[in-house]
Symmetry: C2
Subunit: 98 residues, 2 copies
């Protein structure tokens, strides 16, 4: 399992609209091969700031399977205009749990 | 539930030592009141970079219960010297899942 992590900063006054669009976009990503789970969290200290955690079976399920799919174009058109600055995405391999 | 998130950058050549110390420190945090789960992930693109995700019942379980406990002093002495720069910690409230 690979964890995709992105910190999302949403432009002023559009947080509510972003959350609605995300609820719609969720069905796109969750139907992709290799998708395992998704969690969106709202920052307690900075309410326009979010964390997106997506778990994929393999790295390529995200970087190739999802990002090069036609579905990604719909995902982008629903969400990418909310971000300022545009987020960087990182991938992590779980090594320890409790 | 509240998600604590920290990106941890470990000083050059000490990643292996850090992971061992973390495995030891894990039992400290996981015995604290309000602790729910912990996950440590290693960045695939930058192997000295980690993400720490800790789930707490409430924000205060982390900020007061853990950080003001005697156990936190042991946690610090095991781990804090590995970080460069010293990490900032953020808290998120989960709002959406899939």
């Amino acid at each position: 399992m690979i964890l995709e992590l992105a910190i999302l900063n949403v432009v002023e006054d559009r947080a509510e609209e972003f959350e609605k669009a995300f609820a719609e976009a969720r069905s796109i990503i969750s139907s992709m091969p290799g998708f395992q789970s998704l969690e969106l969290g709202r920052n307690l200290e900075h309410p326009k700031r979010y964390v997106l955690l997506v778990r994929w079976q393999t790295l390529e399920d995200h970087t190739v399977g999802f990002r090069q799919s036609p579905e990604y174009e719909t995902w982008k058109s629903l969400l990418h205009h909310f971000y300022e600055p545009f987020p960087s995405v990182e991938h992590f391999e779980p090594i320890l749990k409790a």
